[in-house]
Amino acid sequence: DAGVTQSPTHLIKTRGQHVTLRCSPISGHKSVSWYQQVLGQGPQFIFQYYEKEERGRGNFPDRFSARQFPNYSSELNVNALLLGDSALYLCASSLVSGDGYTFGSGTRLTVV
């Protein structure tokens, strides 16, 4: 069975641009969460979606948005990119909200 897949694996963007990151959960998993991991720190919670509804949002500006599709895949969008948005973005899926989480390999975003 495929694990959590994220695309792209690496991305370089310019300040002010927009970026879309994608995540496909494990088959059968209905919950997807997004985390930002800045170099040298632990992951920080951004969003959680379950059954296409937002169930949680971390302390991130409105430039960050996300959605979950009927097939339970998810997109994370970031507008007006700042240098500080450079990080590893991790997606995690679980059967239901609050269950054990399986993480993908992440998307490494560099903003220049």
Partner: protein, 117 residues
């Protein structure tokens, strides 16, 4: 508020040594889960263990063992007879209750373990 503290930023050991990674957490909730994840250089967080707040039994899985003590709010991780392949960053995490943002994970800062041959 929930918080996880991993006081050890970096640990370096020689192969075959035992090593313990410390984790202290704070929460006012009576029901919660504690996790340990391993992050190799590839970046993926690899699940190691999940422990329910009501289950204080220690657990052993091969060379790995975990010591959960609610009295001291600690959930320490020991690797016995360490190997070079154990080199990675290890994260301890606490899950908030499901009514708190869907049960988000709160991570510690991580401990970078380096096992030298």
């Amino acid at each position: 508020a929930q918080k996880v503290t991993q006081a050890q930023t970096e640990i370096s050991v020689v192969e075959k040594e035992d090593v313990t990674l410390d984790c202290v957490y704070e929460t006012r909730d009576t029901t919660y889960y504690l996790f340990w994840y391993k992050q190799p250089p590839s970046g993926e967080l690899v699940f190691l263990i999940r422990r329910n707040s009501f289950d204080e039994q220690n657990e052993i899985s091969g060379r790995y063992s975990w010591n959960f003590q609610k009295s001291t709010s600690s959930f320490n991780f020991t690797i016995t007879a360490s190997q070079v392949v154990d080199s990675a960053v290890y994260f301890c995490a606490l899950s908030a209750p499901i009514y708190n943002q869907g049960g988000k994970l709160i991570f510690g800062q991580g401990t970078e373990l380096s096992v030298k041959p």
